[in-house]
Every structure is written in C-alpha cells, then in structure tokens.
Symmetry: C2
Subunit: 135 residues, 2 copies
Amino acid sequence: MMNYENILREHNLKATNQRVGILSIMEQKGHISIEDLYSKIKLDFPSISLATLYKNMHAMLKNELLTEIKVENSKTHFEIASNNHAHLYCEKCRELVDLDIEFKKLNNEILKDSGFLLNKTNLTFSGICIACQGV
Amino acid sequence: MMNYENILREHNLKATNQRVGILSIMEQKGHISIEDLYSKIKLDFPSISLATLYKNMHAMLKNELLTEIKVENSKTHFEIASNNHAHLYCEKCRELVDLDIEFKKLNNEILKDSGFLLNKTNLTFSGICIACQGV
DNA sequence: TTATAAAGGAAAAAAATTATCCTTAACGAA
DNA sequence: TTCGTTAAGGATAATTTTTTTCCTTTATAA
C-alpha cells in the first residue's frame, strides 16, 4: 500500500483523511465510478458529502493524481494516474481491465500525419471478455 | 446529401421529419453535442422537445445509425456511424477531427493478448491542433 | 383510407454535477 | 506546541443533464 499522504503533498494537495480514504479505495479497485466510490467511502466516513467527493475528484484530476476514463454506454470511471495505458471494457460484465501498450509508434504516426501536439492517448477496446464468452 | 428517409428505414426506424432534420445537421457538423444539436434543430422545429432529441439519439445509437464519442474534459459528442476511425481532440479550440487509421493490426494484437471478442475500438488523441499551436 | 404502433411534445421526475456558505482541519511559521 | 491562515469538509440548495410519463399526433403497412 502506497503512502498517500506524501503523494497528495507532492501534488500540492492537502493530505486529508478523506482523500487518503478515497485513494486507498481506488488503489484496491483499480477503476471506479463516483457512485461506487461514494458508497464505499461512506463506510469509512459516514458523514462525507457527495459534494466533497466531487470536489476532491476534480482537484486530484487537475493536479494529475487521477485520470478519467470515459467509455461508451458506461459511467465515467476514475483511476490513479500511472503510465498511459489502454483499457479493455467488457460489455457484458461491465468490467474495465488495464492493458499495457506501447504508444510510441502510434503517437509518432499521429504527430506526423496531423501535426498535433499530443498530450494523451485514449484507447479503449469494447467487447466481451473471455469469462463472459463462456456464459 | 444523403437520403435519410431510406437510411432510417433500413435501420428499422420510422422516417420522421425531426429525425431527418437531426441527421442532416449531423452530416453538416460531423461531430456534435446534444446541447449544440438542440439549439440547431430548434431553428427547423421550434417546438421540438429536448426529450424527443434524447429519445431519438438513443434510438439511433441502439440501431447503429449513430456513434457516441466520449472524450475527457468534454461533453459527449455524436456522429453518423461509418467505418471505425480515430479522433483528434484539440484541448484549446475543443474541436474534434476524424482520423482514418488501420485498426486491424492493433486489434489482432489485443485479441491475441487478451482473448477479448472485440466489438469496437475507441481511439482518441488529445492535444493541441496545428492552428492552436500558433496562437 | 384506415388501424395501429411508434414517435412527438409538455411537463414532471430523477440523476448527476456544481455552487454557496459556514464550520472544521491541515500545516507552516512562530 | 500553539496559533493563524487558508484550504477542505459538510449540509443544503441550485444547476445541469437525462429519463419517464402521459396524452396527442404522425408514419406506415394493410
């Protein structure tokens, strides 16, 4: 388990108990929606306000401690920021899975073709995972 | 300009004037948010209800006449379905641009690595477009 | 034509997100 | 440690976005 107090401070954010709680749930879960996060964090902080949760998510997104994942037909999910990677989304069980991919080649191609100054590559594959194919 | 009456019927949807209006705006615009689409379609159908717009977007998404594009820090956009392609999103002018990419190699790799039964590849690059780099 | 099933529109309801305002807590400086 | 400042928390209301309901109107096939 990571030391979220320090990570928060390194990102110029006060290390509040609520934020540490949010981050440790996120570490456990990998990817999570606001809705699920709220019901989980309320177990540790019964009085936490949904507004607080939203404010924290925005603050942590802005300071690049979190990343937002948007997938078709699914609620926005969040994850702790790390190396840029792809996601696999199962349309059946609605689970998100990380997938490490080498973006360099792809990004260079885009840069060459479009002249875009690339900031982030967002790659999500939707389909049916192995487990759900059997069912 | 395409014949939207027929396209709608081919997708098992009634060809209403409102739907044809929506589709012709979408053809013009390429990518559009509900908000922008609503203000445009109201010029042609002043009494159209926002609920009608949402209901139509859902119906057309479900019947695969439209596609949804979700990008970080941006509202959901819609486009008329066509060959699977990538998108470039400029964080400055907030414009979306199509980018034709060959997904076969990428998709085969994913299939091999994950066993996923792929349905759709969603690829969006965020950054600054050439025009906005100069500013 | 005409029957019927689907779509439109108005309004309300629900869900998601953001703002306001006062209280509380984090944290650097003394 | 204590204290002062500033940011964060929490309750609530307000917005914004999306969905539902219910009745009227329209598209389409017989």
